[in-house]
Assembly symmetry: C2
Homo-oligomer: 334 residues x 2
Amino acid sequence: MVSVKDVAVAAGVSVGTVSNVLNHPDKVSPATVQRVQQVIAELGFVRNDAARQLRAGRSRSIGLVVLDVGNPFFAEVARGAEQRAAEENLVVLLGGADQSPERESAYLDLFREQRVLGVLITPVSDDLAALRRLDAAGIPVILVDREMPEESFRSVSVDDVEGGYLAVSHLLERGRRRIAVVAGPASIPQVADRLEGARRAVAEHSDATLEVIEVAALTVLEGREVGERIRLAQDRPDAVFAVNDLLAVGVLQALAFAGSGVRVPEDVALIGYDDIDFAASTVVPLSSIRQPARMLGRTAVDLLLAEPEGAGERTIRYRPELVVRESTAGVSAN
Amino acid sequence: MVSVKDVAVAAGVSVGTVSNVLNHPDKVSPATVQRVQQVIAELGFVRNDAARQLRAGRSRSIGLVVLDVGNPFFAEVARGAEQRAAEENLVVLLGGADQSPERESAYLDLFREQRVLGVLITPVSDDLAALRRLDAAGIPVILVDREMPEESFRSVSVDDVEGGYLAVSHLLERGRRRIAVVAGPASIPQVADRLEGARRAVAEHSDATLEVIEVAALTVLEGREVGERIRLAQDRPDAVFAVNDLLAVGVLQALAFAGSGVRVPEDVALIGYDDIDFAASTVVPLSSIRQPARMLGRTAVDLLLAEPEGAGERTIRYRPELVVRESTAGVSAN
DNA sequence: CGACGGTAATGAATCGTTTCAAGACAAAGT
DNA sequence: ACTTTGTCTTGAAACGATTCATTACCGTCG
């Protein structure tokens, strides 16, 4: 494997000069730059990043740990982070925790060994020890889509309480009163917050009721099962708020097939959360709460790169946005 | 930041011994191991992977470049690769090319600088120069979901010609004769092969016709537009084969909404490709061609890790499998 | 009692790059 | 002619972990 030394010899210059051609071409005479680059091309020299990092003391990469790579929302977040990082000539190491604290922790260890510039993470576990340890070791931690007011971590998130409130208020405005919320495990803070928002909206209408249906995972399949139960229920709700679009899509499939006897939105209105690309194009296009996913990724990188001390915001919170489509369209059922 | 040296001093041993505790604990007396590990814990020492790599000459990571991280099929492939890699204490660097040759090439450069153990890739471009260069530089390249008989790269793939044949044969068996194929850009080899398979199946029935509808990208949105056109067409086909599930879902949405005047599968049968999780739970559950996505990822890693010379297979080809659901169910329309 | 074998521990050399103080050289100024 | 200024280039040190030849030590055996 070709090293700077080989290049130096072949070009008849010192290793220092080769390095300068690579990193500070302005410090080297044009003729020399030319010659060295020629040799580099001929020999097919490629920098050894390990050596470079070793010298530099830190890497040029950022670690990103998300709950689930398969979830389009997080795929979007990752895209945003990558784009922003690329602009700074940095690289994103992407890890999917698949909801498992073990995998999350494995990635954190890895990132530590890699001396990443920082870690962007949507934590699964509530075990913050690992994160604090990173922080203490000088590796900044940025929380993504999660906030912890009492902690010192910087974060970029979307107001989930407001999102939940928006969703359910919208249903109420449409005249719905018997609201069901399909919620994932309450241990997930995003879920808890959206539920809280839903409760607040319902509290504003004395004649409205709220039923919470808890599921084990935020997947299409779980949503489908819940939808099935709703379809067959005696006292069917007239509106459903699913705390994530995957769940909503599942519910929709159970309700909206021909001959189900239930019409969406006429009989049951449905709203999801995240506004994944797919939501815009389900059978009955799905109303949803949009989160600026890509922006979340970009901003997380911004936050990481900002001067660590003082200056910028430490916590950025975006506001979610209601997107109305057919699944909640039409006049009130009442 | 704590280094082996610091640990050595604190534990009253030499750096060599600390290293041995880390890598060959059997060579060190139990008492010393104990003491050193204690100190490591106290000081919060974490190996610097850059230094380790530099010395070792190669890294412990594998590069994976896929067409699109957002596509559930590739998310699955990545999962498989990660699992297998983890078993060998290796790590997968995941890069999404987003269909862009530039991004693909950027990742390859990065992986080269990282001295990855090998690169698993589903190439976007036909420009193999970069891949050959990698190979020449001693970084093995494994093609994923793609095959190039005339090239020397090892590969793991699924027989796309057979898949296309299976799909369309199934439609023909159901009595359909006017087949439309919704195909992505023909420049994508997977697409071309599936189309080829479709042609072969049609050729076996003299009374069957095949219409090819080419789209620019393999997305739900594109599928939807095509579906719209099909719905309104004068001489509507009685069956549609979409070369990927995202397209199929799009087509389905344009056809299968209440009041569209078209029933699936009665009027138009529909089959997709990939059998993504989502396919099983669309409004009209989607028939599809299943590919062992996770296995593809696992096997790619296996291939990479196998003895480079001689011995094992160089090319592994899986067979796709027909999965019948409602979108092609029911008796023949004829 | 001395040689031997085996186990533990050592410390210098090494990987490939970047940095930086110092040197070489030429052009410009006095 | 001699200093000054500035531009290029050099070569050695440093980053942190691993390796390996060497040394130290202790108990055994002849």
